[in-house]
Symmetry: C2
């Protein structure tokens, strides 16, 4: 059964743009994708507008972008796209003839998971996304946490270890600096350079894929790297449960979902240990279920809501 298209959702990633049209039940009707133009903001906006027209010309458009976005729709900085200060809201309004809903990709993913994924039925949710970096989004009473200037939810930059490595943001010991995909592969390279016996030493390139293969083969170094990242995520999750008192913690992002088998058990254990002294219920940690589709579904739903329609 195919519904009537009511909105377009677009997920802007560092490597690809994916788009879809949605019906009123948030089911995907038509899909399209293309490679992300990196370092060329005008072409990026052109391609987003082209995909939007391709999957649902004239419908409300929502866009999830990989970086902090102001309430007005300006990306302050998205290193994966090599853009800074890009006014996505104005740029797409000019191209589409209507104002898009622009949000952070993690926020879009959480809206998608809340509507039709792993967070259905939960109105207080903390989502941690582990990919190239660590991102996040928070649902408070069913609404996305936005903050005074629209930049709330930068969960990758909570303190994880004041004696830890310097983060890409310049601060010492952020969660992202010890638990992102990038942090895990950097740690792998350090351990290979230190001569630790590991399958990773034989990899052509020590990247997320090599770490994944080594972990699957039972390599102790690879498993330890993931376990330690999971422990950091567990400590951060405990902090965030103390702060937000959610009924659910969601683990998402490419690396987060992919490595969930190794990340989740230590994350659960450490979070539970840190929360054992409180009378409050301890929320479960579950893995995001919509995969790469979460962001575009959520972006489409946000467009629909911004247009005054339900859901």
């Amino acid at each position: 059964m195919t519904g009537t298209p009511v909105a377009v959702g677009i997920d802007v990633g560092g490597t690809k743009l994916t788009a879809c049209s949605l019906d009123a039940n948030a089911s995907i009707l038509v899909r399209a994708r293309t490679r992300s133009p990196v370092g060329d903001p005008e072409l990026l906006l052109d391609e987003i507008a082209r995909l939007a027209a391709e999957v649902g010309d004239g419908l409300p458009v929502g866009v999830g972008v990989p970086g902090p976005v102001s309430r007005a729709g300006v990306i302050s900085h998205a290193p994966n796209l090599d853009v800074t200060g890009l006014d996505v809201g104005a740029g797409l309004t000019a191209r589409l003839g209507r104002r898009p809903a622009v949000t952070n990709d993690a926020s879009a993913a959480l809206v998608g998971e809340h509507a039709v994924g792993a967070a259905t039925g939960h109105d207080h949710v903390v989502m941690l996304t582990v990919g190239t970096g660590v991102g996040g989004a928070v649902l408070v009473d069913g609404a996305l946490l936005e903050g005074a200037s629209g930049h709330a939810g930068e969960l990758g930059h909570v303190l994880a270890d004041p004696g830890g490595p310097v983060c890409g943001c310049g601060a010492v010991g952020c969660l992202e600096a010890v638990a992102s995909g990038t942090a895990m592969t950097r740690r792998a390279r350090e351990l290979v350079a230190a001569g630790r016996p590991t399958l990773l030493a034989q990899a052509d390139k020590i990247d997320g894929h090599a770490l994944d293969e080594a972990a699957r083969a039972g390599d102790e170094v690879a498993r330890t790297i993931r376990r330690e990242a999971g422990e950091h995520l567990g400590r951060a999750a405990a902090s965030l449960v103390n702060v937000f008192d959610p009924s659910l913690v969601l683990l998402g992002g490419g690396a987060g979902v992919n490595a969930a088998g190794d990340l989740l058990p230590p994350m659960q254990q450490v979070m539970r240990e840190r929360l054992a002294g409180f009378a409050r219920p301890i929320p479960p940690i579950v893995v995001a279920s919509l995969g790469d589709d979460a962001g575009m579904i959520g972006a489409g739903l946000l467009a629909l809501r911004a247009s005054g329609q339900k859901p």
Copy 2:
């Protein structure tokens, strides 16, 4: 000019109960206080009810309590009062003949500061209260952050140092374990025991008062203890700004206000350093301005709102 009393606010502390009646402008009309009965829940409820009748018989009553409170008004554990699982909501309803608004003391203080104190005009606020422990409260779009079960805002239990001391909650390295009044006096005792030259070695008792006197006299050890606590508070504030994107960070609590001269400069500096890499505005940190009155004023305002009246 004296207004008409519209609500009663009561702050339940570990040493004293303070109560007041408020007019519609949140001005205090009548005050009362008594010593807190510790370890006797029935007497505690009796005394709260007696103070309420004394300052404003028959008015809506709001109570701020020193510990986590469920949405139903049950204190899970308040070590300073030596009570566990106390149903303040039901106990006071029986005594007052009407349901009180029961909230955490830090949340009550933030509501007071937001209405008539240092947070006026800010609808996104993170408040850290430094006293015997470290507490906190958060305002999101003008509303108190409550969470799924009413226990949100336990900001004293965010991770400050994974290699740090064990917190009263049982977890390692919580903010409370390194930056509370208790943590500062413990550190003072450690340094005196280690033979560090300090005025604190001559104090009859090494407590918050002795630390305060030594710091005022320019004692290096006392100043260093406060500076290090301020740095921890600054790292935590940076994490919380990344999470909430507030327009204001508020420093409150007895020790927080009292030691603000020593705590605030390192707290500001460390927070700013950690946030320098982000395009987002960096909020100021200001000191709470209502002192001990904040909690009872906020509790009274919450009672007024719960009764369906404004503000």
